[in-house]
């Protein structure tokens, strides 16, 4: 992890750890959610299969369930004694009470937002262009890589930023699944929450709130800039 030089700005070691962890968790959550996010969005946008509506519903569950339910579900499934967590932990992959668990929780919570944005962008891709690429000799995989993917890039970007922002602020599912251990699973939100629960923590909470606002704004601005440059390329105004 890059040292942001936060210690010199007067942040305490646990605060620095929380900020770093939040960024790390959000970045990993977004990157890990991206391939399955694109796959699921494609299936929902283009696929004609039995159970499509069911899949759509399941994907959207984290958006409508109380986060604590999602977190508890993760604990049951992915915890040390969980259905999937147990065989994984024997392989040395542990999610419970670990930063990877925080990333998993954040990724699951951001997943429906990401899928929605990507799905919309796939539906906006003109299938006639893909057809044209096919008549030029491009096999379906190539058509996807050279036509579909570049044209849906704005949606992939938008979806990633949404998922990143969601991951950065995730609280309920994370604290239920991996708790709030300073220096280990305590993210920015967890640290702010801890401050608000202790007397005299207001100054610390405000400091971290400012960081949180700055990070979210920076992510938003970055995505706007990227989206503009992408649509300029596709729109051909250059």
């Amino acid at each position: 992890m890059i040292d942001l030089g936060l210690a010199t700005l007067g942040f305490g070691p646990d605060e620095v750890a929380a900020i770093h962890l939040s960024l790390k968790v959000a970045i990993w959550a977004t990157l890990a959610a991206l391939p399955p996010g694109i796959a699921v969005a494609l299936a929902l946008a283009r696929g004609r299969f039995w159970g499509r509506d069911l899949l759509n519903g399941v994907i959207h569950l984290p958006l409508i369930l109380p986060p604590v339910v999602t977190g508890y579900g993760l604990l049951l499934l992915m915890g040390r004694q969980g259905l999937i967590g147990k065989p994984l932990s024997s392989l040395g992959i542990v999610f419970a009470f670990n930063w990877t668990g925080a990333a998993l929780a954040a990724g699951v919570m951001g997943f429906p937002l990401m899928v929605r944005a990507i799905r919309l962008s796939i539906e906006a891709v003109d299938a006639k262009l893909e057809q044209a690429a096919g008549t030029l000799g491009a096999p379906p995989v190539w058509v996807f890589a050279t036509v579909t993917l570049p044209l849906m890039l704005p949606g992939v970007l938008a979806g990633s930023v949404l998922a990143f922002a969601k991951a950065l602020g995730e609280f309920g599912a994370t604290i239920t699944f991996v708790s709030n251990i300073p220096g280990r699973t305590q993210t920015l939100s967890g640290a702010i929450y801890a401050y608000t629960q202790s007397p005299g923590g207001d100054a610390g909470a405000l400091r971290l709130v400012a960081v949180s606002v700055a990070l979210s704004l920076a992510a938003l601005l970055l995505s706007e800039t990227l989206a503009r440059s992408v649509s300029r390329r596709i729109g051909g105004l250059s």
Binding site: L129, T135, G137, V147, G236
Partner: protein, 376 residues
């Protein structure tokens, strides 16, 4: 695709296109056998006649219920043996009506898109980016993106892109329909050069008589999913039994012509089977000696029962009435046999009676020079 057998080698004298297909889709019922030789074959018919469906079948964008399709002797589809090549393995160059350029790529990247997939089929004679850019006049556009191009430029890039993919046949689905008149005039010479210089068979869908007159080597006339007639444009447009397809407001005759030397008073003679016709100007690319085709709209032809004198019109063709057809609006379309060629004239019922027009009657057709438009 893994597992599918390699296509058999093409036989040398196979027709450019040989198809015999049937497809039923709701109320639409297509059953057509089409063979096309070299040159430009026009699939002509009204909307719903099945002409676009036919080229979609050749390209693999649709599947026939039964039938077979072969291009240059290479089978693409044969429902009897279960053969069906996917579009990307057919090597057909499809020029769509809306160009369908890839918006995220430059013109150069669009042109070269099919190149990589065609790399095993590229021969020394295969057109290069430079030769195609020259042929179509798009060299100055290479660095631009499609969104910044005019309709005519897009159409030419789409044409070049299809050519560079080393196709065995070019399919064009009303490539000019979305363009205005001046853009059409801009593209037509390029299509002629393509037909005459590249030597690739072209299957061209249109319902515009002007494009038939200008481009067609052969015409396949489609009507409600069936082939009604096949032949040279001038012979099809002189057949009375096809008037329901070739007639209507656009009724007219097509005459093959050879361009002559410009005369002293600035007129250009065109020698047609019906006689010599003088026109004031021609498209610049038509040099003396070149062959062209004239379209004479029936509404621009007057009839006279004696050899006219003292008229400002230049072109007077003697002939014999072979057929008179009553149109829905009460006018008559008169078919005049002028030394083997057919000239159509539209007259009112009153005039038809006054001139006693009936089969066998000798008449003179008067064509105003300005009514001739080989270019459009």
């Amino acid at each position: 695709m893994a597992g599918s057998p390699p296509p058999p080698p093409p036989s040398l004298d196979a027709p450019s296109l040989d198809m015999d297909v049937a497809l039923r889709q709701g109320a639409f019922d297509l059953e057509a056998a089409v063979t096309a030789g070299p040159g430009l074959t026009v699939l002509f018919g009204q909307s719903g006649s099945g002409k676009s469906t036919l080229i979609d079948l050749v390209a693999g964008l649709r599947r026939p219920d039964r039938g077979r399709i072969a291009v240059g002797g290479v089978p693409l589809v044969d429902t009897a043996s279960g053969l069906w090549l996917p579009p990307h393995r057919r090597r057909v160059g499809y020029v769509f009506q809306e160009a369908r350029l890839l918006p995220h790529l430059t013109v150069r990247q669009n042109l070269l898109y099919g190149r990589w997939f065609a790399r095993r089929h590229l021969t020394v004679e295969a057109p290069t980016l430079d030769s195609v850019a020259d042929l179509l006049g798009i060299a100055p556009l290479l660095a631009r993106r499609p969104a910044g191009l005019s309709g005519g430029e897009k159409a030419r890039v789409a044409l070049g892109r299809a050519l560079l993919a080393a196709p065995r046949i070019l399919l064009m689905d009303e490539p000019l329909a979305a363009l205005d008149e001046s853009r059409k005039a801009e593209i037509l010479p390029y299509l002629e050069r393509l037909r005459d210089q590249v030597g690739l068979p072209i299957l061209y869908v249109t319902h515009a008589v002007a494009e038939v007159a200008r481009l067609a080597t052969t015409v396949v006339m489609l009507d409600q999913g069936r082939v009604r007639a096949v032949g040279a444009p001038s012979s099809l447009w002189s057949r009375p039994d096809l008037m329901d397809l070739t007639g209507g407001a656009e009724a007219g005759s097509l005459l093959d012509a050879v361009v002559g030397e410009r005369t002293g008073d600035g007129l250009i003679p065109l020698d047609t089977p019906a006689g010599r016709i003088l026109v004031p100007h021609l498209p610049t690319e038509l040099a003396p000696g070149s062959r062209t085709r004239l379209r004479i709209p029936a509404r621009d032809v007057l009839l006279s029962d004696r050899a006219p004198q003292g008229l400002s019109a230049l072109n007077i063709l003697p002939g014999v009435v072979s057929d008179v057809r009553l149109e829905e609006d009460g006018s008559r379309v008169v078919r005049l046999d002028c030394v083997g060629a057919t000239v159509l004239a539209r007259v009112t019922g009153t005039s038809a009676a006054a001139l006693a027009i009936a089969p066998g009657r000798p008449l003179w057709a008067i064509v105003k020079a300005v009514a001739l438009d080989p270019a459009t």
